[in-house]
Structures are given as structure tokens and as C-alpha cells.
Amino acid sequence: MQTHQFDAIIVGAGGAGLMAALYASKGGANVAVVSKLYPTRSHTGTAQGGIGAALGNHEPDNPLWHAYDTVKGGDYLADQNAAKVLAENAIDAVIELEHMGLPFDRTPEGRISQRRFGGHTSNFGEKPVRRACHAADRTGHMILQTLYQQCIKNEVKFFDEYHVVDVLMNNGACVGVVAVQLGTGELHVFHGKATLFATGGWGKIWQVTSNAHSLTGDGAAITFRRGVPLQDMEFFQFHPTGIYKMGILITEGVRGEGGVLLNRHGERFMEKYAPRIKDLASRDVVSRAIYLEIRDGNGIQGKDYVYLDVRPETVNRYLAEAGETRRVTGEEIEKKLPDILDFCRVYLGVDPVKEPMPIQPTAHYAMGGIPTNVDAEVVIDENWTVLPGMYAAGECACVSCHGANRLGTNSLVDLVVFGRRGGMKIAEYVKHADLIPLPANPTAEIEAEFKRIRSSKGKSKPGELRGIMQKVMMDYVGVFREGAGIQQAIDTVQELRERYQTDLSLDDQGYKFNTDLIETWELGCLLDLAQVTAKSALARTESRGAHSREDFKERDDQNWLVHTLAFSKLAGPYQPGALHLDLNTNKKVDLSLAETDPRFAPKERVY
């Protein structure tokens, strides 16, 4: 075992981790970035459509309108102070990315080009607004590359392919992490004053997902096992347009450019569900509409998918109908959506300029996660008590600026805004904080768990367990949910956890690049998070944002303008047996904007 000492340890090298690392080191901290993937492999690189900021480069815009859309999009569960910070800091953050060299697309005047995106409007919901700053349909790629480049320039220290598997606590503070060096299988202890988790989401709980194989929620799972709560886990976003069966994402930018959703009769069905902004309604609304169409037998050939049509003739027909003067050509579509066209051509053999794309909703984004305040400090109860030394940012964190449903382009904003704030806070914190010693035997528990997994001699292949979990979660804890179904998912996942604890079968007993072992350990994280998700979903007896209960169809502001905090009741991180939870619903949603501006008060959400 090797021990490394740093002021600050950043776990994860996606947009959030890199931004935090940059700012912590610019602020004078000695920083290590620990990542299971090479930084440029992080899932931030797959983000397509854009990053939202009220720059107003094409038409008037205002951060307050952005905050309003965020709050409304989040079905009033977003903490309004956080939504305000998000929208206000977004402008500065995007400009800063440009100053770091990010190659945004440009307007004829040379400014950052912006496009429409779902749920983003001007003047408090009046009409769609061009707010998403983009670089073709590879905005996330450019952000990830640019931030990594800047980290190289600033000589940030990276530990690539080091997989963090435990978090270390002592005297009520976080003092570092334990990681496996993948190439050797050796354990390393990273000891520091501040640790920031930026490990991304956990879409791999579901069968059809836009998420990478690596998105297994490690950071959320290991902090949860060590006593940190998970907030609002019942809210997981299904993006309306994933490639049929594969789940690969087709950005909302396609609809932003004028693409429309059509059912088997060629009807633009979103006109029924969101008369005002139609295909550009919030994601939860559009995903539910697609499910309802499919349920009514309106899927293509009666099957479980619909069409997304961005052929110029279709787009222009609807533009004309709407009285707009803009028209698109095939060439422009090629230029603006090159990667999307490439995905469809490679994986489907479909050319979107000539044919519509078959799509279905795909598990996409975790609104819930490790609770933090607006400075990325982890908070562990309804009184916003800070856990010293522990920080979280990006998708694994829950600030909560996204509430019950995140708007498109707001995750990339979240990464840079709260990653940056976290990095600055850490730089300040490590200047005066003491280095708290490591706990005794810091690796004992995780070593024992790895030994158990490595030497298991049962019958259950990890791949089989994962498959069952993904299916049951898709069927019962997906776009629509209902009590008995959720309970069934809970029971099944519990059985899987038992098999995981007692009956695993592994082929690789080695140390170097033992991906069999690592994948199995990741499955353990997924099972824990699936269980927390399902149990939180069962407890919330209302429908709000992405959490849509068929047995409780209405939103219930009387009882449920609160966040769910789920605590593990297990004595230790790997205690065998059922995963008992303590579900706390005392944390009230911040409604600070509504206090002075009635437009922010919770009301019925229509698009």
C-alpha cells in the first residue's frame, strides 16, 4: 500500500472534476486528480447539444428568465437560491470557457452562437429562446478537451486509471480516499484536507440508457455507505430521444433546429401535450407523451418507438405553418448535427436527412445525488450541516438546482459553475484547515471486500445479476411508476444483493487490469443505488417532474415540497443483509425567489 498526501483530492476528471481541480490549484492548493478513466474518456465528452447561458447573442435574454425556466422545469423542487446562482454564474462561466480557447460556433458577428433547447424560454415562458451555446453537436467534447488542456497547462497532477473504492473518515471529517491502481491492482491511500467527488451519474441501473459503461455511481455509493445521505434519488431523467433499443442519445438540439416527433399516423403529437412550445417542452413531459402514444397503439408499426423527423421538408413545413420565415437545408443540418447523423448512419443505417429516426426514451440523468450547498460543500441533514473536508460537484451531486427534472444544457452549466465554486472554496479551506490523521487501518475493510469478491466461488455471474437489475428497473422504476411495481423492483434488487453477497462467480483472480473484479465491484454500487432509488420512489406519494406515479397522479405541494434524504441504516459499508434505509423528508425546498417575486411561486406547469 502506498500513501500520497495532497491538500486536495479530486475524484473524477469529467467537466466538474477538471473545473474544480483548475480552480483549487489556481488558488494555491496542491491538487491530485484521481480518475478511473483517462480524463478525456469521461462522459462529459459525449454531451452534445449545448451549454445554457443568457448571453443574448441573438435575441434579448436574461438570467432571471433562465432561473425561472430552471425552477419551472424542475417542477418547483429546485432550490431557488441554487437555480439563481446557476443562471447568473452561467454567463461568466461560458465566457471563461471561451477565454480558455473553447471553439464555440460563431454568429456572423463573431459571437458565440446559440440555439433553442427544451424548456428554455424568454420572458417567463412566453416563447422559446436561443440560449444553448454550442460547438456543433459536440459541445461536451469541446468542454472536456478544453478543461483537460488547461489542466495540462497548469501542471495539475493526474492519477489516471486509479479507481476510487472507499472514502476515509476520521473525527467526523473526510480525510481522503482509497483507490486501486488498475494496472497493478495495488491499493493507494490519498490523504488530504479536502476531497471532492465528481464521479458522474449511474444510468447503468437501467436497461436502455444514454450513459457510458463507466457510469456506475461509485462516488455516490461509497459516500452513502459511509453515512452521507443521498438526496432526491427518485428523480432520474429519461431523455425522450434515444436511438431505438440502443439508447444512444439524439440531442434535443435536433428539435431545437426544428425536428419534430411523429407517431405512426404522421401526427405531430406534441401539439396535444404542450400546445405552446410543443416538441420543445421539458424532457419529462415529452418522455411521458411518447409512452402514452405507444400505450395507445400509436407507436410506429404498433411497436414501442416513435419517429424523430429532421428532414428539411418536414422541418420547413412546420416552420411555414408556424409563420416563421426561417428555412433549413440538408447541408445546414449536416453542418449543425454531424455526429448525430453519423450515429444514425453507422448504428441504424438510417440517413436522417432522408429518413426519420426511430427513437424511444432513454435513461439519462441523475437529478439526485450527494447533497451539497452552492459552494459544493457536502451537507448531511435538513439543517444544511456541512461535513468538513467533503465536497461534491457535477452529476453525482445534488445542489439541488435541477429539482425534479433537469433542463437540457443545464448539466454542463452545473459542472462548470459548481465545479468552479467548489474549487475556489477548497483553495480557501485548505489554507487554514489542519490535516486530520488517517483512521487506523484505512484499507482493512475494502481489502476484505475485495478478497471476498476475488475468491468467490458461487454460481451468479455479475453480468447476469446486472441484466436482471437493469430490466426490472426499466420496467418498474422508469418513466411511469406505480406502488406494486416499485415494490417488485425493490424485492428483486434485494434478492440480487443477496446473491451478490453470497453467491458470486468470478473468473479472474489476478491483480493487473482485473476488469472482472472492478466491474463486479461497480455492480455492487449500482445495486445499492437502485435500491435507494426504488425505495425513495415508493415513499414519494405524488407525481412531480421525472417521478410520475400512476397511483398518485397529482403533484402535492402541501406535503411534498421537500427533498428526500436517504440514509443507510447499516452499521458498516459491507454489512451483509437487506439495505435498510432511513428516509427523511424534513428538508424544505428553498423558495427564496418566490418570496419577492410571485412568478416563482409553485403553480401548475403548462408548456
Partner: protein, 250 residues
């Protein structure tokens, strides 16, 4: 349909398997539209958990799973069975040390990347209005192609000049340099051109063209390298050729 995979393997920890060897796996119920990556997962999850390879995004944008598939560098997640037939051979990419099965040591590759100053440099004052630096759509277009690089190493490990001499920076690093050299906002083009004019820089490129078809992002790599060569001869990205420079380079 049935497909036979022939995979080049190596496990440094197991005597007898610590030298490269071939192993065959048979898969049935394969759909023509299945990705090679899915098939590798099926082998790993159903038949042999020890098979090691890198992967993440599964749709050709993260650059994790460059492999030599039927003799050509590809991303396993971006090539479909129907384009390969029923006998599929998979090996690690060439020119980098193999660590286990399909996993190679990427450190030399990233070291070359870091060599070319792969970051934006502009120390002039920021616009006074606090807004973005301006760039015309034409100037932005100038380096668009090379912004697409995902550092998968398909190009560099397809290059015979790199195989022959691992100290050559390789096509990927030149692509990365190109992205900044031709960015109208950047100011360190001269430094990068100096680095690439060194013996292990662009002149080791013999225009063999292997890199361009290997690129899963369809970057016109040979063209980009040519533009960098020309810029070195001209002394700047858009400069005029000085006769003495050509003599000097020759």
C-alpha cells in the same frame, strides 16, 4: 448468425499466458447490427471474465477502445459485425507495449500529446466589455476538422513511421497541435511549429496515408499534417514562403 472471434491475448500474471497467443471464441445469435464491443462483452460476461479491454461510452466518442480489428485500426464500439463477416480477428493496437490482452500502455502516446503544447495560449488583455473574444465563422471553420480528435490513438498506431521509431510524436499529436496553430485566437503557433520542426516532429511523416482512413472521426489527418509542414516552411500558419526557409528545411 454464428461468429468466430480470434483474439490476441496476454496475461502477464499467468505463466504460460505471459507471451502473446491466440484464442478462439464462438458466439451464436449474433445480429448483423451488433457492435464488436457488444460481442467482446458477451465473451467476457458469458464465457471468460478474464478477457481485458478498455471501453466506456460505447458509441465512438470517448476513444477508449481502439483495437486492430481484421487488421485495421477501429473503435470496437463503432464497427458492426455486418461489415466484418463471420470471422473476426481482434488484436491490440500496434506500437505501444501490451499490458494485458487488448490493453496497451497509453503513457507514451499521451507523453507525445503533452509535448506539442496542446492548450490555448493568448496572454493579451481580455475584451473590455467582459465578453467573448470575437472570431469570424470563417476563422472558426479553419481548424474545425482537428477539433474532433478524441485521442483514441487509431492514427498514431497505424503509422509505420511511428512503429519504426516510437520517439516520433505521431499523427495524433500533430492533429492536436494543428487545432491550435490554425486558431486565429491563439498566439503560440510559432512555439508549436518550432517543436514540430525538430527531428521527431512532422518531418518523420512520410505521407504514407495510413492515419487518415484509420481515424474514426474522419479527420483529414494527412492534410492537417501537410498544412503544418507548409506552415513550418512559411514560418507561420498564414505566412509567405521564404526561400531560405525551404533551403534550411531541405
Amino acid at each position: 448468425m454464428d461468429v468466430t472471434f480470434r483474439i490476441r491475448r496476454l496475461n502477464p500474471e499467468i505463466p504460460g499466458k505471459d507471451k502473446p497467443y491466440w484464442q478462439e471464441f464462438k458466439l451464436s445469435d449474433v445480429e448483423p447490427t451488433d457492435r464488436v464491443l457488444e460481442m467482446l462483452h458477451r465473451i467476457k460476461w458469458e464465457q471468460d471474465g478474464t478477457l481485458a479491454f478498455r471501453r466506456s461510452c460505447a458509441h465512438g466518442v470517448c476513444g477508449s477502445d481502439a483495437m486492430r480489428i481484421n487488421g485495421v485500426n477501429r473503435l470496437a464500439c463503432k464497427v458492426l459485425v455486418k461489415d466484418l463477416g463471420t470471422k473476426i480477428q481482434v488484436e491490440p493496437i500496434l506500437g505501444l507495449p501490451v499490458l494485458k490482452d487488448l490493453i496497451v500502455d497509453m503513457e507514451p502516446f499521451f507523453a507525445h500529446y503533452r509535448q506539442v503544447m496542446p492548450f490555448f495560449v493568448n496572454d493579451t488583455p481580455l475584451p473590455e466589455d467582459g465578453r467573448e473574444r470575437l472570431q469570424s465563422p470563417q476563422d472558426r471553420e479553419r481548424f474545425d476538422d482537428t477539433t474532433k480528435c478524441i485521442l483514441c490513438a487509431c492514427c498514431t498506431t497505424a503509422c509505420p513511421s511511428f512503429w519504426a521509431n516510437g520517439s516520433y510524436v505521431g499523427p495524433a499529436a500533430i492533429v492536436q497541435a494543428h487545432r491550435f496553430i490554425f486558431d486565429s485566437r491563439d498566439q503560440a503557433a510559432a512555439d508549436r511549429l518550432d517543436i514540430l520542426a525538430e527531428p521527431d516532429g512532422v518531418w518523420r511523416c512520410r505521407t504514407i496515408f495510413n492515419c487518415t482512413p484509420a481515424c474514426p472521426r474522419e479527420i483529414e489527418i494527412t492534410k492537417a499534417i501537410g498544412e503544418v509542414k507548409l506552415a513550418i516552411m512559411r514560418g507561420s500558419p498564414e505566412g509567405i514562403i521564404q526561400v531560405q526557409d525551404i533551403q534550411h528545411e531541405a
